[in-house]
Amino acid sequence: MNMLTGATGRVLLEARSVSKRFNVGSRIVPALRKTVHAVDGVSLQVVRGETLGIVGESGCGKSTLGRCLVRLHEVSEGEIIFEGRDITRLSRRALRPIRRKIQMVFQDPAASLNPRHRVRDVVAEPLIIHEFGTHSEIDARVVELLRVVGLSADHLERFPHEFSGGQRQRIGIARAIALEPDLVIADEPVSALDVSVQAQVVNLFQDLQERLGLTYIFIAHDLSVIRQVANRVAVMYLGSVVETGLTEAVFDHPAHPYTQALISAVPVPDPDRAHRGRRILLKGDVPNPAAPPSGCRFHPRCSYAQATCRDVRPALTRIGPHREVACHFPLV
């Protein structure tokens, strides 16, 4: 964790109050028009070499945030700073050299690989786009990349549908690391995989980070995965970050009631350690993001909620080194 100390100069990517709104409902009748704040004023920093885990329930905006950070979605407000440069409104052309430094791994490896392309073409695509070298150089590099992710040259001429889910995700990873990016944004990269295969792919991510010095933003709803890979976590609820901190600290002493509830819901495989009766059940469902609750977004489901929580929205406040929480009554 020493990489995090006094490291402002080594911030690789920074999100400054990034918001993403989607218009839903009628385009013609204004009364039926609604705006969904999928991402609502998120500020984050990713330090070179670390893994930032982003967790939250499905629908909390973590995938949208990830897609905003790679400019797959245009952000509605805020800035995205990469290596000290504002890339929020760069044109596609100006963005191209930056594209090779930020890559993405997608959730569903079956959907993120074009079924008409052979593995060779999939992995060579980034190399061709960014003019890596001659044909034979690209061929050699593709074979090398396949080896790195645990596949072999035998797989070159095969099609995605001939692989298992885990192998497909390896192909997606090979494509993402082909250009030796600085930052890889992994959007739920293992949640579509069998549990037995998840561990292998997670190990591959960690192995690659060590070898290539990658920085990850690892988006997941599975807390045990996040706990294993992330140095730091950001917990999202309804489009906003409610808590950030070093993984150990957040998992051992959650400061936000929502984080506490999330962590208490993780099944513990050891019956002796299983927290009997300490499980916090959240009341109700995630509110409709088109009509979020007043004040603290979490107050209708929070067992600690008080009158202020209904009226005043808590800001993300620093409560310790590397620790921020958006709660009027933090638990630590």
Binding site: R67, S112, L113, I129, F159, H161, E162, S164, Q167
Partner: protein
């Protein structure tokens, strides 16, 4: 116990075992790729292969129409032959026979022999068999050419609307909707009546009213919305797909995404549409020609021959039935082929390709 087993097997061994275990069993043919697999699937479809053979026979015989007219029928099928005779059973028989009641004439019936008037004569004393072959050339040509026009426009408009979205999508969609709002035959008939009466004269561009390009263009245009809309919908879905997102992340240009990611997927839709649209176009051409506003004389098509036989329905029904059968067989064959292609190429079926 469990932990001991876990320690004995290294992660890599475990990965290998698991991957071997979870990888689907595949026949060797699957490695040939999408198009090969689809082609193999069509080949295994017996009905489709019969249809292909039938279409091939029709096409070759129609292409060889002049050979038939010169070498077998010994006749110009575009010249009326009201005073001629034909040798039937050793006797010279007039092509046009006066009716016993003295009212009107009846053309000679089919000889069923590989020679002149095999299928009899029409009201002008012309050889129906030879005209059938010449008409087939025109029908198939109009059907194919209008399909090319229709699919070209549909692909251009569908991809432009689906890929770029926004204002381009709106403008194209409205254009297609306007075209779609017309009952298809009403549109075809009104366009045909106007254009075939006057031809086209725009500056240096002169199209005569009997030019084949008129029915080709009319039939090609009227079905554009029926193909462009599904393509537009497909492109919109592809545009949002993860693999296009991945391509954008890699920094691919629009052109590259269109060429590498979108078009290969649209191609299968086009291939499925081709025989189906051709069948539809052949029927439309026949309908317009039957009404006299499609293919114009001196050209003949299956539709015009049916019309030629209209007043002979009671005496020589074969004049109308023969081209009618030709249309039915062609259209059924094309539809069977289209179904087989759809089964082989359907994007929803692709996951069960093997």
């Amino acid at each position: 116990m469990a932990s001991e087993i876990g320690a004995a097997i290294s992660d890599q061994d475990y990965a290998r075992v698991l991957d071997a275990w979870t990888a689907p069993e595949l026949p060797a043919s699957a490695a040939q790729g999408y198009w090969h697999a689809a082609l193999a699937k069509v080949r295994r479809n017996r009905a489709a292969m019969v249809a292909v053979v039938a279409l091939f026979l029709f096409l070759t015989s129609c292409v060889m129409a002049p050979l038939y007219a010169h070498l077998v029928a010994h006749i110009n099928p575009f010249k009326s032959n009201l005073d001629g005779t034909v040798l039937i059973g050793g006797k010279q028989v007039p092509v046009m026979q006066s009716a016993s009641n003295g009212l009107g004439v009846t053309p000679v019936g089919p000889t069923w022999r590989f020679g002149p008037y095999m299928l009899g004569a029409d009201g002008q004393g012309r050889d129906v068999a030879a005209r059938l072959l010449y008409g087939g050339r025109v029908s198939l040509l109009v059907g194919a050419a209008s399909t090319v026009i229709c699919l070209s426009f549909a692909v251009l408009l569908g991809i432009a609307a689906g890929f770029y979205g926004g204002i381009i999508n709106r403008v194209i969609s409205v254009m297609l909707d306007i075209l779609w709002a017309f009952p298809i035959y009403l549109l075809a008939i009104s366009l045909s009546i106007i254009l075939i009466n006057s031809g086209i004269r725009i500056g240096p561009l002169v199209v005569h009213s009997d030019d084949l390009i008129l029915p080709i263009a009319i039939i090609g245009i009227i079905y554009v919305p029926y193909v462009a809309r599904p393509i537009r919908a497909q492109v919109m879905t592809l545009r949002r797909s993860d693999f296009v997102m991945a391509s954008i992340c890699l920094g691919a240009s629009d052109l590259r995404i269109l060429r590498r990611e979108i078009l290969p997927n649209v191609a299968s839709t086009l291939i499925v549409f081709t025989p189906i649209m051709m069948a539809l176009n052949i029927i439309t051409e026949a309908s317009l020609s039957f009404l006299g506003i499609g293919v114009q004389p001196p050209s003949a098509s299956w539709g015009t021959i049916i019309r030629d036989g209209e007043h002979l329905l009671y005496t020589r029904p074969l004049v109308s039935i023969a081209p009618g059968l030709a249309i039915v067989i062609t259209v059924v064959a094309l539809n069977i082929l289209g179904d087989a292609l759809r089964d082989a190429l359907d994007p929803r079926a692709k996951l069960t390709l093997h």
